[in-house]
Symmetry: C2
Subunit: 225 residues, 2 copies
């Protein structure tokens, strides 16, 4: 069984994870983007562009309204922090249980298409603040998904692949470039301008710009300054 379901936001990490799954692993890839009421809804266009640029089997957008729950700068009126020093604790951009929810819905799709492997582009930088990017969470989720689906009843092993979990941004970008990924198609900003351009100052823009700078490569996206 060579199928994989990949969570694809259209950002730098998930796009690299998809390129890895397609080109490095040769899996039959089904990518999933989530329309969840996010402030940076424009990322869905980036996800579609990235999916179209790679040799995947299918890309789909699934809907779950997390804005109805709120509690995050990404799904409510809470302002996205800009130019902040890295803080300890959970960032304001944390969306309650988001990876738990996205992985669960992806598990439903995986079960439907008889795939037994999920891929998520979580990595060490998110890991520092988001509880749902920790390896121990992914291990626990995998056990729950195994037991809560047909796979569990039928004794089919189910896995979660986190290829970027221990990589820095610059390493992730180097991997993507080595696989021919066009980062000009991606979108990372949490708080884009009305016409979809990146703000350049949220955590996501800052980590991305720093990654390109560390690697000595130019980010194909343009920033306001």
């Amino acid at each position: 069984m060579n199928k994989a379901v990949i969570l694809l936001s259209g950002g730098l990490d998930s796009s690299t994870a998809l390129a890895w799954a397609v080109q490095k692993k040769g899996w039959e890839c089904y990518s999933v983007a989530f329309d969840y009421g996010q402030r940076h809804h424009v990322e869905l266009e980036a996800a579609a562009r990235v999916a179209a640029s790679l040799n995947i089997t299918e890309h789909r957008v699934l809907h779950v309204n997390l804005a109805a729950i709120g509690g995050s700068a990404l799904t409510s009126e809470i302002a996205v922090p800009k130019d902040q020093e890295t803080t300890h604790g959970i960032p304001l951009t944390y969306v309650p249980a988001r990876n738990l929810i996205f992985l669960s819905i992806a598990t439903g799709l995986a079960e439907r298409i008889k795939a037994f492997r999920l891929v998520i582009g979580a990595n060490i930088i998110d890991y520092s603040g988001y509880p749902d990017c920790r390896p121990e969470f992914f291990d626990a989720f995998c056990k729950a998904a195994q037991l809560g689906t047909r796979a569990g009843i039928e004794g089919q092993p189910f896995s979660i692949e986190t290829p970027l979990i221990e990589m820095k941004k610059s390493e992730i970008i180097a991997l993507g470039l080595s696989l021919g990924l066009d980062y000009g198609l991606t979108h990372s900003c949490y708080d884009p301008t009305p016409n979809g351009d990146p703000c350049g100052h949220c955590d996501s823009c800052r980590f991305r710009r720093q990654g390109f700078a560390e690697l000595g490569k130019e980010d194909p996206l343009s920033y306001p300054d």
Copy 2:
């Protein structure tokens, strides 16, 4: 902390679980119904009626489009089985990863409102066929939710309550009646008529009717025969 988030479909089991949480446990109850593209969409009206009849804090409907995934008689064109002998294996009405998805979204809400307890009305009859009604699944899910949320980072214990897990339908009905629950407000049918009446012949109707019969009580709902 006395708060609980209760998954409420408007069916017999979840309505009884809610009555138990409100009246027996005295918890501050937040009920959640899911609009997920189900064939028996009318159950959402029953959920609202049941919630309104009990002393709860808040009832809300959350959206997640599982019909876009399909693979079940409840979310696709697959016909709902009628008057079938109980079969082994997973029923056609199983929705891929449904409890995993619903519990995950409920976990997001729980985290948002600082509740650390979910209640689900799963029971032994479902348990016989649905992988996501098994106690071992709930245990595994609880660990994943603990690790994937703020609760985990902050060391707050998180629990899943399954008060009906080992009860037969007749015992569940007896519990609900003892708590004053009006089963005339509930809706159990997987495949209602266009005006919302129960079919009387799907598994859910059959288990319900059998439960009332075993208990020697009359079901307040009327059936076509």
